[in-house]
Protein backbone atom coordinates (compact mmCIF):
# COMPACT_ATOMS: atom_id res chain seq x y z
CA UNK A 1 0.00 0.00 0.00
CA UNK A 2 1.74 3.19 -1.12
CA UNK A 3 1.57 6.61 0.56
CA UNK A 4 0.90 9.94 -1.17
CA UNK A 5 3.68 12.12 -2.58
CA UNK A 6 4.83 15.31 -0.80
CA UNK A 7 3.43 17.47 -3.64
CA UNK A 8 0.02 15.83 -3.53
CA UNK A 9 -0.11 16.20 0.25
CA UNK A 10 0.88 19.89 0.05
CA UNK A 11 -1.72 20.68 -2.64
CA UNK A 12 -4.49 18.94 -0.70
CA UNK A 13 -3.53 20.74 2.53
CA UNK A 14 -3.37 24.10 0.73
CA UNK A 15 -6.78 23.51 -0.87
CA UNK A 16 -8.33 22.70 2.51
CA UNK A 17 -6.64 25.79 4.00
CA UNK A 18 -8.16 28.01 1.28
CA UNK A 19 -11.54 26.59 2.14
CA UNK A 20 -10.90 27.13 5.84
CA UNK A 21 -10.29 30.80 4.92
CA UNK A 22 -13.80 30.94 3.44
CA UNK A 23 -15.19 29.25 6.57
CA UNK A 24 -13.19 31.72 8.69
CA UNK A 25 -14.79 34.64 6.85
CA UNK A 26 -18.26 33.14 7.39
CA UNK A 27 -17.56 32.53 11.08
CA UNK A 28 -16.35 36.11 11.48
CA UNK A 29 -19.35 37.68 9.75
CA UNK A 30 -22.64 35.81 9.81
CA UNK A 31 -22.01 34.05 13.13
CA UNK A 32 -21.46 37.20 15.27
CA UNK A 33 -24.39 38.86 13.47
CA UNK A 34 -26.73 35.93 14.21
CA UNK A 35 -25.60 35.15 17.75
CA UNK A 36 -25.61 38.78 18.84
CA UNK A 37 -22.79 40.55 20.57
CA UNK A 38 -23.31 39.10 24.08
CA UNK A 39 -23.68 35.43 23.11
CA UNK A 40 -20.77 35.74 20.66
CA UNK A 41 -18.58 37.25 23.39
CA UNK A 42 -19.60 34.51 25.87
CA UNK A 43 -18.92 31.74 23.36
CA UNK A 44 -15.47 33.13 22.50
CA UNK A 45 -14.55 33.57 26.17
CA UNK A 46 -15.51 30.00 27.11
CA UNK A 47 -13.83 28.51 24.04
CA UNK A 48 -10.56 30.37 24.69
CA UNK A 49 -10.68 29.57 28.42
CA UNK A 50 -11.05 25.84 27.84
CA UNK A 51 -8.40 25.93 25.10
CA UNK A 52 -6.00 27.40 27.70
CA UNK A 53 -7.00 24.89 30.40
CA UNK A 54 -6.85 21.88 28.08
CA UNK A 55 -3.62 23.24 26.57
CA UNK A 56 -1.96 23.20 29.97
CA UNK A 57 -2.84 19.54 30.50
CA UNK A 58 -1.43 18.74 27.06
CA UNK A 59 2.08 19.17 28.59
CA UNK A 60 3.71 19.08 25.14
CA UNK A 61 2.44 15.52 24.51
CA UNK A 62 1.01 16.43 21.08
CA UNK A 63 4.46 17.34 19.75
CA UNK A 64 5.98 14.19 21.31
CA UNK A 65 3.28 11.97 19.81
CA UNK A 66 3.51 13.52 16.34
CA UNK A 67 7.29 13.15 16.31
CA UNK A 68 7.12 9.51 17.50
CA UNK A 69 4.31 8.61 15.09
CA UNK A 70 6.19 10.19 12.16
CA UNK A 71 9.40 8.31 12.94
CA UNK A 72 7.77 4.89 13.55
CA UNK A 73 5.42 3.36 10.97
CA UNK A 74 3.82 1.15 13.64
CA UNK A 75 2.96 3.14 16.77
CA UNK A 76 0.31 1.31 18.82
CA UNK A 77 1.89 2.09 22.17
CA UNK A 78 2.21 5.82 21.49
CA UNK A 79 -1.33 5.86 20.09
CA UNK A 80 -2.78 4.20 23.19
CA UNK A 81 -0.80 6.45 25.55
CA UNK A 82 -1.58 9.70 23.75
CA UNK A 83 -5.27 9.12 23.05
CA UNK A 84 -5.69 7.61 26.51
CA UNK A 85 -4.28 10.88 27.87
CA UNK A 86 -6.79 12.78 25.69
CA UNK A 87 -9.60 10.98 27.55
CA UNK A 88 -7.98 11.85 30.90
CA UNK A 89 -7.85 15.52 29.79
CA UNK A 90 -11.60 15.45 29.12
CA UNK A 91 -12.27 14.05 32.60
CA UNK A 92 -10.03 16.69 34.22
CA UNK A 93 -11.77 19.51 32.31
CA UNK A 94 -15.20 18.21 33.38
CA UNK A 95 -14.01 17.92 37.00
CA UNK A 96 -12.80 21.55 36.88
CA UNK A 97 -16.10 22.73 35.38
CA UNK A 98 -18.36 20.76 37.74
CA UNK A 99 -16.02 21.44 40.68
CA UNK A 100 -16.37 25.19 40.08
CA UNK A 101 -20.18 24.81 40.34
CA UNK A 102 -19.98 22.82 43.58
CA UNK A 103 -17.44 25.16 45.20
CA UNK A 104 -19.42 28.19 43.92
CA UNK A 105 -16.30 29.44 42.10
CA UNK A 106 -17.93 29.39 38.65
CA UNK A 107 -18.64 33.13 38.69
CA UNK A 108 -14.98 33.80 39.48
CA UNK A 109 -13.43 31.40 36.94
CA UNK A 110 -16.14 31.80 34.27
CA UNK A 111 -17.70 35.22 34.93
CA UNK A 112 -21.29 35.82 33.68
CA UNK A 113 -21.54 32.34 32.10
CA UNK A 114 -24.44 29.85 32.16
CA UNK A 115 -23.62 26.41 33.59
CA UNK A 116 -25.00 24.40 30.67
CA UNK A 117 -22.90 26.38 28.17
CA UNK A 118 -19.80 25.95 30.34
CA UNK A 119 -20.18 22.15 30.08
CA UNK A 120 -21.23 22.12 26.41
CA UNK A 121 -18.38 24.34 25.24
CA UNK A 122 -15.83 22.53 27.47
CA UNK A 123 -16.69 19.23 25.76
CA UNK A 124 -16.85 20.90 22.32
CA UNK A 125 -13.38 22.39 22.69
CA UNK A 126 -12.02 18.98 23.70
CA UNK A 127 -13.79 17.30 20.75
CA UNK A 128 -12.31 19.85 18.31
CA UNK A 129 -8.85 19.10 19.75
CA UNK A 130 -9.41 15.31 19.60
CA UNK A 131 -10.50 15.46 15.95
CA UNK A 132 -7.49 17.65 15.11
CA UNK A 133 -5.20 15.06 16.74
CA UNK A 134 -6.74 12.33 14.57
CA UNK A 135 -6.14 14.43 11.44
CA UNK A 136 -2.52 15.01 12.49
CA UNK A 137 -2.13 11.27 13.21
CA UNK A 138 -3.22 10.65 9.62
CA UNK A 139 -0.65 13.22 8.42
CA UNK A 140 2.15 11.46 10.33
CA UNK A 141 1.34 8.29 8.36
CA UNK A 142 1.41 10.28 5.08
CA UNK A 143 -2.33 9.64 4.63
CA UNK A 144 -2.97 13.39 4.23
CA UNK A 145 -5.17 13.07 1.15
CA UNK A 146 -7.83 11.02 2.92
CA UNK A 147 -7.80 12.84 6.28
CA UNK A 148 -7.81 16.26 4.59
CA UNK A 149 -10.73 15.14 2.39
CA UNK A 150 -12.66 14.28 5.57
CA UNK A 151 -11.58 17.61 7.09
CA UNK A 152 -12.75 19.39 3.94
CA UNK A 153 -16.13 17.58 3.91
CA UNK A 154 -16.66 18.39 7.58
CA UNK A 155 -15.90 22.08 6.96
CA UNK A 156 -18.23 22.13 3.90
CA UNK A 157 -21.03 20.57 5.98
CA UNK A 158 -20.47 23.13 8.76
CA UNK A 159 -20.37 26.05 6.33
CA UNK A 160 -23.52 25.07 4.42
CA UNK A 161 -25.45 24.35 7.61
CA UNK A 162 -24.35 27.68 9.12
CA UNK A 163 -25.31 29.63 5.99
CA UNK A 164 -28.62 27.76 5.65
CA UNK A 165 -29.63 28.45 9.26
CA UNK A 166 -28.51 32.08 8.88
CA UNK A 167 -30.77 32.61 5.87
CA UNK A 168 -33.64 30.95 7.72
CA UNK A 169 -32.96 33.32 10.66
CA UNK A 170 -32.64 30.41 13.09
CA UNK A 171 -28.90 30.47 13.69
CA UNK A 172 -28.31 31.03 17.40
CA UNK A 173 -25.80 29.94 20.04
CA UNK A 174 -27.43 26.50 20.56
CA UNK A 175 -27.57 25.61 16.88
CA UNK A 176 -24.05 26.95 16.29
CA UNK A 177 -22.67 24.75 19.06
CA UNK A 178 -24.50 21.72 17.60
CA UNK A 179 -23.10 22.42 14.11
CA UNK A 180 -19.58 22.38 15.53
CA UNK A 181 -20.27 19.15 17.47
CA UNK A 182 -21.50 17.46 14.30
CA UNK A 183 -18.50 18.67 12.30
CA UNK A 184 -15.98 17.24 14.76
CA UNK A 185 -17.92 13.99 15.27
CA UNK A 186 -17.92 13.44 11.50
CA UNK A 187 -14.12 13.69 11.45
CA UNK A 188 -13.72 11.32 14.43
CA UNK A 189 -16.11 8.75 12.95
CA UNK A 190 -14.69 8.60 9.42
CA UNK A 191 -11.02 8.62 10.47
CA UNK A 192 -11.70 5.90 13.07
CA UNK A 193 -13.40 3.74 10.41
CA UNK A 194 -10.54 4.38 7.93
CA UNK A 195 -7.77 3.29 10.29
CA UNK A 196 -9.81 0.34 11.60
CA UNK A 197 -9.71 -1.37 8.21
CA UNK A 198 -7.62 -4.56 8.23
CA UNK A 199 -4.83 -3.45 5.86
CA UNK A 200 -4.23 -0.14 7.63
CA UNK A 201 -4.50 -1.73 11.04
CA UNK A 202 -1.76 -4.17 10.07
CA UNK A 203 0.39 -1.43 8.57
CA UNK A 204 0.22 1.17 11.37
CA UNK A 205 -0.50 -0.76 14.55
CA UNK A 206 1.63 -3.56 15.96
CA UNK A 207 0.28 -5.98 18.53
CA UNK A 208 -0.22 -4.02 21.73
CA UNK A 209 1.63 -5.32 24.79
CA UNK A 210 1.02 -3.49 28.04
CA UNK A 211 4.43 -4.38 29.47
CA UNK A 212 6.19 -2.63 26.55
CA UNK A 213 4.55 0.72 27.35
CA UNK A 214 7.38 1.72 29.72
CA UNK A 215 9.86 2.54 26.92
CA UNK A 216 7.32 4.69 25.04
CA UNK A 217 6.33 6.41 28.27
CA UNK A 218 10.01 7.16 28.94
CA UNK A 219 10.28 8.74 25.45
CA UNK A 220 7.29 10.97 26.14
CA UNK A 221 8.57 12.01 29.56
CA UNK A 222 12.06 12.85 28.17
CA UNK A 223 10.55 14.83 25.29
CA UNK A 224 7.98 16.71 27.37
CA UNK A 225 9.73 17.46 30.66
CA UNK A 226 11.51 20.65 29.37
CA UNK A 227 8.12 21.90 28.19
CA UNK A 228 6.12 21.54 31.46
CA UNK A 229 7.14 24.97 32.83
CA UNK A 230 6.50 26.46 29.38
CA UNK A 231 2.98 24.98 29.35
CA UNK A 232 2.29 26.27 32.87
CA UNK A 233 3.24 29.84 31.97
CA UNK A 234 1.43 29.46 28.63
CA UNK A 235 -1.79 28.55 30.41
CA UNK A 236 -1.65 31.56 32.75
CA UNK A 237 -0.64 33.90 29.94
CA UNK A 238 -3.38 32.69 27.53
CA UNK A 239 -6.12 32.56 30.14
CA UNK A 240 -5.33 35.71 32.14
CA UNK A 241 -5.94 38.49 29.56
CA UNK A 242 -9.27 37.06 28.35
CA UNK A 243 -10.41 36.40 31.92
CA UNK A 244 -9.41 39.93 33.07
CA UNK A 245 -11.21 41.46 30.08
CA UNK A 246 -14.34 39.40 30.87
CA UNK A 247 -14.39 40.17 34.57
CA UNK A 248 -13.66 43.92 34.24
CA UNK A 249 -15.40 44.77 30.97
CA UNK A 250 -17.96 42.01 30.24
CA UNK A 251 -19.09 39.99 27.21
CA UNK A 252 -19.54 42.95 24.85
CA UNK A 253 -15.88 44.05 25.08
CA UNK A 254 -14.92 40.35 24.86
CA UNK A 255 -16.90 40.13 21.60
CA UNK A 256 -15.23 43.26 20.16
CA UNK A 257 -11.77 41.86 20.84
CA UNK A 258 -12.58 38.28 19.70
CA UNK A 259 -14.08 39.52 16.46
CA UNK A 260 -11.11 41.79 15.76
CA UNK A 261 -8.71 38.95 16.54
CA UNK A 262 -10.56 36.56 14.19
CA UNK A 263 -10.63 39.04 11.31
CA UNK A 264 -7.01 40.08 11.76
CA UNK A 265 -5.74 36.48 11.82
CA UNK A 266 -7.81 35.06 8.93
CA UNK A 267 -4.90 35.33 6.47
CA UNK A 268 -2.58 33.44 8.83
CA UNK A 269 -4.18 30.17 7.70
CA UNK A 270 -1.66 30.13 4.83
CA UNK A 271 1.30 30.60 7.17
CA UNK A 272 1.02 27.00 8.45
CA UNK A 273 1.58 25.50 4.97
CA UNK A 274 4.69 27.64 4.41
CA UNK A 275 6.08 27.15 7.92
CA UNK A 276 6.06 23.32 7.68
CA UNK A 277 8.06 23.48 4.45
CA UNK A 278 10.39 26.07 6.01
CA UNK A 279 10.96 23.73 9.01
CA UNK A 280 11.87 20.87 6.74
CA UNK A 281 14.25 22.91 4.57
CA UNK A 282 16.06 24.48 7.54
CA UNK A 283 16.42 21.09 9.30
CA UNK A 284 17.73 19.49 6.11
CA UNK A 285 20.23 22.31 5.47
CA UNK A 286 21.48 22.13 9.06
CA UNK A 287 21.81 18.36 8.63
CA UNK A 288 24.13 18.82 5.60
CA UNK A 289 25.91 21.81 7.26
CA UNK A 290 24.84 24.19 4.47
CA UNK A 291 24.63 27.33 6.62
CA UNK A 292 24.67 29.65 3.60
CA UNK A 293 21.42 28.01 2.51
CA UNK A 294 20.00 28.34 6.05
CA UNK A 295 20.81 32.07 6.00
CA UNK A 296 19.24 32.57 2.55
CA UNK A 297 16.08 30.62 3.40
CA UNK A 298 15.58 32.54 6.64
CA UNK A 299 16.18 35.98 5.11
CA UNK A 300 13.92 35.30 2.16
CA UNK A 301 11.11 33.75 4.26
CA UNK A 302 11.31 36.57 6.82
CA UNK A 303 10.92 39.28 4.19
CA UNK A 304 8.39 37.54 1.97
CA UNK A 305 6.09 36.50 4.81
CA UNK A 306 6.25 39.94 6.47
CA UNK A 307 5.46 41.65 3.16
CA UNK A 308 2.57 39.28 2.38
CA UNK A 309 0.95 39.91 5.78
CA UNK A 310 1.30 43.72 5.77
Amino acid sequence: MKTDSVEKRYVVTLFVNVFKLVLGVANSTIVPKSLGIVDFGNYQFLLRSFTSIRGFFNLGLSAAFLTYSSKNIKSSKAFVLFFGWNIVQLLVILIIAVGSFILKLDNLIFPDQTKIYIILIAVLEWLNYFSLNLIQFGETKAESVYVQKINFCSNIAKLFTTVFLFYRHILDLDSFIMINYLGSLLIVLFIAIYFSKKDRKEKYFEEFKFNELKETLRYFVTYCSPLVIYELFGFFSNYFDRWLLQITSGSVQQAYFSLSYQWATISMIFTTSVVNIFWREISYSIGVSDFVRVENIYKKSFRTLFFSQV
Binding site: K33, F236, Q253, Y256, Y261, A264, S267, F278, I286, V310
Partner: protein, 208 residues
Protein backbone atom coordinates in the same frame (compact mmCIF):
# COMPACT_ATOMS: atom_id res chain seq x y z
CA UNK B 1 -1.75 42.28 2.41
CA UNK B 2 -4.54 42.02 4.90
CA UNK B 3 -3.20 44.46 7.51
CA UNK B 4 -3.46 47.61 5.40
CA UNK B 5 -6.80 46.57 3.88
CA UNK B 6 -8.35 45.81 7.27
CA UNK B 7 -6.91 48.99 8.84
CA UNK B 8 -8.20 51.27 6.08
CA UNK B 9 -11.50 49.50 5.49
CA UNK B 10 -12.48 48.56 9.06
CA UNK B 11 -15.51 50.84 9.03
CA UNK B 12 -16.80 49.59 5.67
CA UNK B 13 -16.18 45.93 6.62
CA UNK B 14 -18.18 46.27 9.83
CA UNK B 15 -20.98 48.11 7.99
CA UNK B 16 -21.28 45.41 5.32
CA UNK B 17 -20.71 42.20 7.28
CA UNK B 18 -22.05 43.01 10.73
CA UNK B 19 -24.49 45.52 12.21
CA UNK B 20 -24.64 48.69 14.29
CA UNK B 21 -24.14 46.82 17.58
CA UNK B 22 -20.57 46.07 16.45
CA UNK B 23 -19.69 49.63 15.40
CA UNK B 24 -17.64 50.17 18.58
CA UNK B 25 -15.34 47.34 17.45
CA UNK B 26 -14.01 49.39 14.50
CA UNK B 27 -11.24 50.98 16.56
CA UNK B 28 -10.22 47.64 18.10
CA UNK B 29 -10.18 46.09 14.61
CA UNK B 30 -7.86 48.85 13.38
CA UNK B 31 -5.43 48.16 16.25
CA UNK B 32 -5.52 44.38 15.69
CA UNK B 33 -4.89 44.91 11.95
CA UNK B 34 -1.23 45.49 12.91
CA UNK B 35 -0.99 42.04 14.56
CA UNK B 36 -0.71 39.54 11.63
CA UNK B 37 2.74 40.48 10.23
CA UNK B 38 4.38 40.27 13.66
CA UNK B 39 2.71 37.09 14.84
CA UNK B 40 3.60 35.50 11.47
CA UNK B 41 7.26 36.34 12.12
CA UNK B 42 6.82 35.01 15.65
CA UNK B 43 5.65 31.68 14.17
CA UNK B 44 8.51 31.66 11.65
CA UNK B 45 11.09 32.40 14.32
CA UNK B 46 9.66 29.73 16.64
CA UNK B 47 9.92 27.19 13.82
CA UNK B 48 13.52 28.27 13.22
CA UNK B 49 14.40 27.65 16.87
CA UNK B 50 12.83 24.17 16.72
CA UNK B 51 14.46 23.32 13.39
CA UNK B 52 17.89 24.36 14.71
CA UNK B 53 17.22 22.55 18.02
CA UNK B 54 17.52 25.70 20.13
CA UNK B 55 14.42 24.62 22.06
CA UNK B 56 15.65 25.76 25.49
CA UNK B 57 16.45 29.28 24.24
CA UNK B 58 13.02 29.48 22.59
CA UNK B 59 11.35 28.22 25.76
CA UNK B 60 13.18 30.78 27.90
CA UNK B 61 12.34 33.71 25.59
CA UNK B 62 8.70 32.53 25.47
CA UNK B 63 8.43 32.26 29.27
CA UNK B 64 9.73 35.83 29.67
CA UNK B 65 7.21 36.85 27.00
CA UNK B 66 4.36 35.19 28.88
CA UNK B 67 5.28 36.92 32.16
CA UNK B 68 5.46 40.26 30.33
CA UNK B 69 2.09 39.51 28.72
CA UNK B 70 0.44 38.95 32.11
CA UNK B 71 1.98 42.14 33.54
CA UNK B 72 1.03 44.37 30.62
CA UNK B 73 -2.45 42.78 30.34
CA UNK B 74 -3.09 44.09 33.83
CA UNK B 75 -1.61 47.51 33.01
CA UNK B 76 -3.72 47.98 29.87
CA UNK B 77 -6.99 46.32 30.96
CA UNK B 78 -7.45 46.80 34.74
CA UNK B 79 -9.83 49.64 35.61
CA UNK B 80 -8.50 52.96 36.88
CA UNK B 81 -10.38 52.58 40.18
CA UNK B 82 -8.73 49.30 41.22
CA UNK B 83 -6.42 49.31 44.28
CA UNK B 84 -3.56 48.85 41.82
CA UNK B 85 -4.97 50.92 38.97
CA UNK B 86 -4.55 50.09 35.31
CA UNK B 87 -5.34 52.15 32.22
CA UNK B 88 -8.88 50.71 31.87
CA UNK B 89 -8.70 50.40 28.09
CA UNK B 90 -11.07 47.35 27.80
CA UNK B 91 -10.86 45.61 24.40
CA UNK B 92 -8.48 48.31 23.13
CA UNK B 93 -6.15 47.46 25.99
CA UNK B 94 -6.17 43.76 25.11
CA UNK B 95 -5.45 44.60 21.47
CA UNK B 96 -2.61 47.00 22.36
CA UNK B 97 -1.15 44.37 24.71
CA UNK B 98 -1.16 41.75 21.93
CA UNK B 99 0.58 44.13 19.50
CA UNK B 100 3.11 45.28 22.08
CA UNK B 101 4.11 41.74 23.04
CA UNK B 102 4.15 40.49 19.44
CA UNK B 103 6.47 43.32 18.32
CA UNK B 104 8.71 43.10 21.38
CA UNK B 105 9.24 39.35 21.35
CA UNK B 106 9.51 38.99 17.59
CA UNK B 107 12.31 41.56 17.79
CA UNK B 108 14.03 39.68 20.62
CA UNK B 109 13.75 36.36 18.76
CA UNK B 110 15.10 37.95 15.56
CA UNK B 111 18.03 39.37 17.55
CA UNK B 112 19.04 35.88 18.76
CA UNK B 113 18.55 34.36 15.30
CA UNK B 114 20.68 37.06 13.67
CA UNK B 115 23.41 36.30 16.24
CA UNK B 116 23.17 32.56 15.44
CA UNK B 117 23.38 33.24 11.68
CA UNK B 118 26.08 35.91 12.19
CA UNK B 119 23.95 38.50 10.39
CA UNK B 120 23.43 42.16 11.21
CA UNK B 121 20.32 42.56 13.36
CA UNK B 122 19.78 46.07 11.92
CA UNK B 123 19.20 44.46 8.50
CA UNK B 124 15.92 42.90 9.64
CA UNK B 125 14.70 46.03 11.44
CA UNK B 126 15.47 48.10 8.33
CA UNK B 127 13.62 45.69 6.02
CA UNK B 128 10.54 45.58 8.30
CA UNK B 129 10.48 49.37 8.63
CA UNK B 130 10.79 49.86 4.86
CA UNK B 131 7.90 47.50 4.09
CA UNK B 132 5.69 49.08 6.76
CA UNK B 133 6.46 52.62 5.54
CA UNK B 134 5.95 51.92 1.84
CA UNK B 135 2.81 49.79 2.12
CA UNK B 136 1.09 51.96 4.72
CA UNK B 137 1.89 55.09 2.64
CA UNK B 138 0.36 53.47 -0.44
CA UNK B 139 -2.68 52.44 1.63
CA UNK B 140 -3.06 55.96 3.08
CA UNK B 141 -2.84 57.66 -0.33
CA UNK B 142 -5.47 55.36 -1.84
CA UNK B 143 -7.72 55.61 1.22
CA UNK B 144 -7.82 59.40 1.22
CA UNK B 145 -8.23 59.54 -2.57
CA UNK B 146 -11.11 57.06 -2.62
CA UNK B 147 -12.77 58.54 0.51
CA UNK B 148 -13.17 61.87 -1.31
CA UNK B 149 -15.58 60.19 -3.79
CA UNK B 150 -19.06 59.31 -2.58
CA UNK B 151 -19.86 55.62 -3.19
CA UNK B 152 -21.29 52.54 -1.50
CA UNK B 153 -19.33 50.62 1.15
CA UNK B 154 -18.79 47.61 -1.15
CA UNK B 155 -17.60 49.83 -4.01
CA UNK B 156 -15.25 51.58 -1.60
CA UNK B 157 -13.65 48.28 -0.51
CA UNK B 158 -13.52 46.89 -4.05
CA UNK B 159 -11.84 49.95 -5.55
CA UNK B 160 -9.45 50.22 -2.61
CA UNK B 161 -8.35 46.58 -2.91
CA UNK B 162 -7.91 46.75 -6.70
CA UNK B 163 -5.91 49.99 -6.54
CA UNK B 164 -3.86 48.67 -3.62
CA UNK B 165 -2.98 45.43 -5.43
CA UNK B 166 -2.06 47.32 -8.62
CA UNK B 167 0.19 49.78 -6.80
CA UNK B 168 1.80 46.97 -4.75
CA UNK B 169 2.40 45.05 -7.98
CA UNK B 170 4.05 48.07 -9.59
CA UNK B 171 6.17 48.65 -6.46
CA UNK B 172 7.38 45.04 -6.53
CA UNK B 173 8.17 45.26 -10.25
CA UNK B 174 10.25 48.39 -9.63
CA UNK B 175 11.81 47.14 -6.36
CA UNK B 176 11.45 43.33 -6.05
CA UNK B 177 13.49 43.31 -2.84
CA UNK B 178 10.52 44.96 -1.12
CA UNK B 179 8.75 41.58 -1.26
CA UNK B 180 11.94 39.69 -0.45
CA UNK B 181 12.40 38.40 -4.01
CA UNK B 182 15.08 39.06 -6.62
CA UNK B 183 14.57 40.31 -10.17
CA UNK B 184 15.65 36.91 -11.58
CA UNK B 185 12.86 35.25 -9.52
CA UNK B 186 10.30 37.67 -11.00
CA UNK B 187 11.66 37.05 -14.51
CA UNK B 188 11.42 33.30 -13.92
CA UNK B 189 7.81 33.54 -12.66
CA UNK B 190 6.97 35.82 -15.60
CA UNK B 191 8.48 33.35 -18.10
CA UNK B 192 6.58 30.43 -16.56
CA UNK B 193 3.34 32.41 -16.72
CA UNK B 194 3.96 33.41 -20.35
CA UNK B 195 4.79 29.81 -21.29
CA UNK B 196 1.69 28.47 -19.54
CA UNK B 197 -0.52 31.10 -21.20
CA UNK B 198 0.99 30.36 -24.63
CA UNK B 199 0.37 26.63 -24.10
CA UNK B 200 -3.28 27.30 -23.26
CA UNK B 201 -3.84 29.39 -26.41
CA UNK B 202 -1.89 26.92 -28.56
CA UNK B 203 -4.02 23.97 -27.42
CA UNK B 204 -7.25 26.00 -27.96
CA UNK B 205 -6.13 26.85 -31.52
CA UNK B 206 -5.43 23.15 -32.24
CA UNK B 207 -8.87 22.14 -30.94
CA UNK B 208 -10.61 24.71 -33.20
Amino acid sequence: MMSVVIFCQAENLVEIFLNKSFSDSIGVLRVMAIYPPFITLNTLNGTFFYATEQVKLYRNISIVGMITNIFFSYVFIAPKDYIVPGLGLHAYGTAINYIFNAVLFTTIQTFFISKYLKLRFEYFIYKQSKVLLVLSSIGAVIYFSVSAIAMSHIAHIFIFVIMYLVLIGISVLIRPDLAGVERKDLNRYGSSLRRATADVFRSRKQNM
